[in-house]
């Protein structure tokens, strides 16, 4: 679906052209004289989409119209919730098929991958929260009125923490497609919601993982708010190596978060 360009694209302004004064963070000041802080994370603009994408009707009244104000990352933005041990969020759930008294209906799958920064460094010990509808396309949510059955053995929520190499893995049921009221005959492609923190406030990411070969992806206004090349980064791939014999298909979904030093921050002299 061709999307109109957003009214304002403040995020896409090249960083170097913004007249921001010195952004050296006090506690991590560079040793190089007259060098701006190099410990900034790569620009958010690199992770499309814009807030305003009128094909997704709800964005029309829920997107800012004034330009975002570009600010340097300070100690506030380069710190963030980091220790998810037992102090934050809910208990880990690695196997979403074991939450009920019996096996949920649908196709059992294994979703795994790595969380990396944009230089390819693993992002270890970060929480990955996931949620989804069941195999019939119905969420365990009081406001989901889709005429499809709930599954008493499937809730569809989990969370795992990446290991030292940024790897994560969980077992679930392949979600179904479901209708929504964005436009006539609108259907969401099958997807799993992902919520990640990364090392700090600036690296937060919420995205959706899609499945390869799904014909609904390219006619879905939410997926299509992202240009096609970038859209493909949200599509998992079938993987025979993580598929388990006589048990479950494997899908791999690697996630790339903003990393440091991706943008040179030398002060234009």
């Amino acid at each position: 679906m061709p999307m109109r360009p957003p009214v304002t694209m403040p995020c896409t302004t090249p960083f170097a052209s913004i007249p921001v004064r010195s952004v050296a963070v006090k506690t991590v000041r560079s040793k190089k004289e007259k060098t701006m802080d190099v410990l900034q994370y790569s620009p958010q603009a690199l992770s499309e989409p814009p807030s305003f994408a009128p094909g997704y009707v709800s964005t029309v009244a829920r997107s800012p119209r004034k330009p975002l104000v570009r600010i340097p990352q300070t100690l506030t933005e380069v710190t963030g919730p980091a220790d998810f041990g037992e102090r934050l969020l809910r208990a880990p759930v690695h196997d979403m098929t074991q939450e009920g008294k019996g096996e949920p209906l649908g196709e059992r799958i294994i979703v795994s991958g790595r969380v990396l920064d944009d230089r390819g460094h693993p992002v270890p010990n970060t929480v990955v929260e996931v949620w989804q509808c069941n195999s019939a396309g119905r969420y365990v949510h009081k406001k989901d009125q889709h005429d499809a059955p709930l599954d008493p053995n499937f809730t569809g929520q989990g969370r795992v923490v990446t290991d030292e190499e940024g790897r994560y893995r969980f077992v679930t049921i392949k979600p179904g497609a479901y209708p929504w009221r964005n436009h006539y005959n609108a259907w969401r492609p099958a997807h799993i919601h992902f919520s990640l923190f990364g090392p700090c406030f600036a690296t937060r990411l919420i995205t959706q993982m899609y499945f390869p070969g799904d014909p609904l992806i390219d006619i879905d206004p939410i997926a299509c708010a992202v240009p096609s090349e970038a859209r493909n980064r949200m599509v998992s791939r079938f993987d025979i190596d993580t598929t388990e014999n006589e048990w479950a298909l494997g899908y791999v979904f690697d996630i790339v978060l903003r990393g440091r030093n991706a943008t040179p921050m030398e002060n234009p002299q």
Partner: protein, 199 residues
């Protein structure tokens, strides 16, 4: 940015909306209460509404906050200032879904000032992330306190400029005589649109 550098960088995974059906997965019991036993500092309540372009409450949004302790220290390895005492009872992260009236509430402590760019100091503030149906990506803003004299010298408010900086200043709820309560309405769009940051 040199071509060499660009070729080394992996493209980021794009944002997508949190959608309307996150409630059974993301909020957790006590997520809006940052107070733990032994926490240091002045207890405060942060409360506000999320409003759309027509000033209608957004009842399927989610607000996250991140802030320093009462002494101005972040619970994160990046904040390694030994001269500022850490508060082991305070993490500084909270998450709250909006209710049917679009209202969110946090119980926390008044944050201390923290370093800013260069040799500046930032006025006490709370970083806010806003998510919701119809929000394709997180909107980032900040809450500042109305009585803080340091606001006049805050480097981020300075970048915002005087015309819109007041959208970032919470209002003291004078009727609540107990715990100091601050109202902070987030206007996603419209005449009083809140300042959102590209960080």
């Amino acid at each position: 940015m040199s071509d060499t550098l660009v070729s080394e960088v992996r493209p980021l995974t794009p944002w997508q909306t949190v959608g309307p059906f996150f409630h059974y997965a993301l909020p957790w019991e006590g997520g809006e209460n940052l107070l733990r036993e032994g926490v240091q500092g002045e207890r405060i309540i942060i409360r506000g509404r999320v409003l759309d372009a027509m000033d209608q409450p957004v009842s399927d949004a989610m607000v996250e906050i991140w802030q320093a302790s009462s002494s101005g220290r972040y619970d994160h390895p990046e904040d390694n200032r030994t001269e500022v005492p850490a508060d082991p009872a305070f993490i500084g992260f909270g998450r709250c879904p909006t209710n049917e009236d679009g209202v969110f509430t946090f119980h926390t402590v008044r944050p201390g000032p923290v370093p800013g760019p260069g040799n500046t100091e930032q006025a006490p503030h709370i970083a806010i992330g806003l998510f919701g149906r119809g929000l394709l990506r997180r909107l980032v803003t900040r809450l500042y306190f109305p009585e803080s004299e340091a606001n006049a010298h805050d480097p981020i408010l300075d970048l915002v400029g005087p015309e819109r900086a007041d959208t970032l200043i919470a209002k003291r709820d004078e009727e609540n005589s107990g715990v100091p309560t601050y109202w902070f309405d987030i206007h996603i769009q419209g005449e009083n649109e809140t300042v959102f940051f590209d960080v």
